[in-house]
């Protein structure tokens, strides 16, 4: 066998398992990434999505945050302006988690309509830049420390 052919065989011996691993990991670890509205519509059509791992990107409704005194768990309401879901999260909420923060929660939506999050990522809208205009129209939009938008 020529060396090039051998190399191709060797390469396939790496590429094929790696490709299989990628495909398998993608299906194993892939989760829907939805907005609250999309989640609402999807789950109405397909109830099997209850109690399935899902990721939701939304915004915290101002004033809805209820922190456990120890900081170990937190409850809040998330929204995209159209649809809202109550969320509970056990764990340390990041520093950036606050009223009106953009959050990404990963967890399961219970049949009672509460989203039980296992991970909570938050980024503050004012982290690097002013919030995009579409957020300014949202109820409860607050800029930085409550001063007028510069």
């Amino acid at each position: 066998m020529k060396a090039r052919t051998k190399f191709l065989v060797g390469a396939l011996a790496i590429v094929l398992p790696a490709g299989w691993l990628m495909a398998k990991s993608t299906t194993d670890t892939g989760v829907y990434y939805l907005t609250p509205s999309e989640l609402g519509t999807k789950i109405a059509k397909d109830p099997s999505l209850y109690e399935t791992g899902i990721k939701v990107g939304a915004r915290v409704v101002p004033g809805s945050i209820v922190r456990d005194p120890g900081g170990r768990s937190v409850a809040f309401v998330m929204t995209d302006g159209a649809k809202t879901f109550p969320v509970t999260y056990r764990g340390l909420a990041p520093d950036t988690f606050t009223d009106s923060a953009d959050v990404v929660v990963e967890g399961r939506l219970g049949r009672d309509g509460t989203f039980r999050a296992t991970t909570l990522l938050a980024k503050c809208a004012s982290r690097y830049e002013a919030a995009p205009d579409k957020y300014k129209a949202m109820p409860g939009y607050r800029n930085g420390a409550g001063r007028p938008e510069p």
Binding site: A3, R4, K6, F7, G10, A11, I14, V15, A18, L21, M22, K24, S25, T26, D28, T29, G30, V31, Y32, Y33, L34, E38, K42, K55, G57, R67, P69, G70, G71, R72, L92, P94, D95, T96, F97, T98, V104, E106, L121, A122, K123, C124, A125, S126, R127, Y128, E129, A130, A131, P132, G144, A145, R147, P150
Partner: protein, 675 residues
Amino acid sequence: MILVGELALWVAMLMAAWGTTVSFAGGATGRGTLIASGERASYATLAFVILASLGLWSALFASDFSIKYVASFTSSNLPKAYKFTALWAGQSGSLLFWSLILALYAAIATFNNRRRNREMMPYVTGTLSAVTLFFLLVTCLGSNPYERLDWLPPDGRGMNPQLQNPGMAIHPPTLYLGYVATAIPFAFAVAALLARRLNAEWLAAVRRWALLSWFFLTIGVVLGMWWAYVELGWGGYWAWDPVENSSFLPWLTTTAFLHSIMIQEKRGMLRKWNVTLVISTFLLSILGTFITRSGVISSVHSFAQSPIGYWFAGFLVLAIAVSAYLVSTRLSDLKAQAHLESMVSREASFLFNNLLLVGIAFSILWGTLFPILSEAVRGTKITVGPPFFNQVNIPLGLLLLGLTGVGPLIAWRRASPANLQRQFTGPVIGGFVVGVLLFALGMRDAYALIAYTLAGFVLATIVQEFAKGVGARRRMYEENAILALLRLIARNRRRYGGYIVHVGIVVLFAAFAGLAFKKEFDITLAPGERFAATDPYGDQWTFVSNGVSRFQQLNRHVTAVALQTTRNGKSMPLITSEKRQHVDSRGAPTFEPSTEVGILESLRQDVYVVLAGVSANENAEIRVTFNPLVWWVWFGGVIMAIGGLIVMWPQADLRRPQGGYLASLKPEAEVVGGS
């Protein structure tokens, strides 16, 4: 000065436009006046971009809050050093900073090559001017740092406290220095394709730039890990976040290129592949910028969504189209001059190395872009998380680690059984000894055992190489061991510098494998209360809370907890963690509270303490993490940087004839190296 700066920004853009036009025209017609004008335009662009940056800096230092950028990212009580770094704290400023580095690199590349590579240089200057023009266009029209406010705020919003950290002051610029440097090899590749000068000369000119880019990317990525570890307080240093991934992708392809370039130099193989790698690296750094700026992929680091992402998308599409056209029309000029002779050869091991590096890059790209891909194909966003990246990349990474030991030792063309036996008997035994020893000591994590076995093997190959080289010098020149070692490295910088980089890689892998043994505890401590835990090494630790204290400091309110610590009954240093609320000059809070992590660092492990909050009765809510071997991540990064420096350091005797493929070229082809 501010007005001058703003004006200079527009002039710089016009200069870049002029430089692009006349350089390409000069390249096509061969007219010397046009070419010279293009080169002067490149210097002029640099001068005006410098002026534009100085203008913004003067506005930042003067706290001129009529400028939106200054008001958004600084406040009058911000320490001076951070007013300086504020230039890259926000989007429009960092775009200007990007243009500054690019213009600087372009001017250096143009100046260094003013007397060589004449057929290519107009196209190199033209391509670099075009890229600079793009960035200046975005800066001027898409996101202008000089944008004014129609009212004058009494104070600025201040800088995000997480950016008020010395690591953050140097992390973005180093990463930019690395990202932007990928444009130079890209420009040379485009120029070589345009001018159909596709022999080794363009490669020699770009090798140093690729190394420079690799060097800064390495430092930038490791600094980013360090910053995330000490500042974000989640206990880790790498989360496979899209922004982290996009800095890692060009590093992977550059590393692949730095290896495959050797095969082209020695054997004239992989010519298409090298052109493709250079172009892909640049495209990946633009893609990375697009990902981080456009908000198409959600990331905790993201800059806010902004339309300039679409400028980058447009530019990316254009660059892909041009590159694809150029490569496809020049395929006949890129024929390989040799073929693979044996699977047991250095060429083959380097091919596998490239395959793995590019495979890893592909899987990371796949995972990062998957939300977009799935939305395009199936209409719903699906994301994959850290488990995906770990499942795919740990096995590929371990294979790569193994090849790190094989590649440098195996003979070119065709290795004989004798060669294999001579080179590998010792290291293979060394690796197994490490693995068996760790197993006997009770380590049962399969991936960690494989990682340490391979690490032992690779380290043994490198030690063996150094020992052989030193031994040979001692016999030939009768030098003492230290002198022989230093001279050995100094006389063969590429080779032994490369080995030192490999040592850094081994150290990094060993440190990553330590993650398998991480232990984490969430605890509540009343003042004076005690908590006991066993660390991954089996040592007993106790933590006693000194209670919560609150005080004022510089521009912030601080809530702190201090823990008295003992290990196996022996007293250790106090560990403190803080929550900080930053305030502006009027005392109003700015941003969310940030966490200051308490870290007790040692070679064995970090004890990582985070104050999560204070509950009723002044109870401190604390997370304690035992993080094994984290120090070695930073140390591995330092070793890699040192190795990179050794490889890059200009070698005096470039003219000494080299064997192999280069020697068969025209004599002038081998002295063009030092661009």
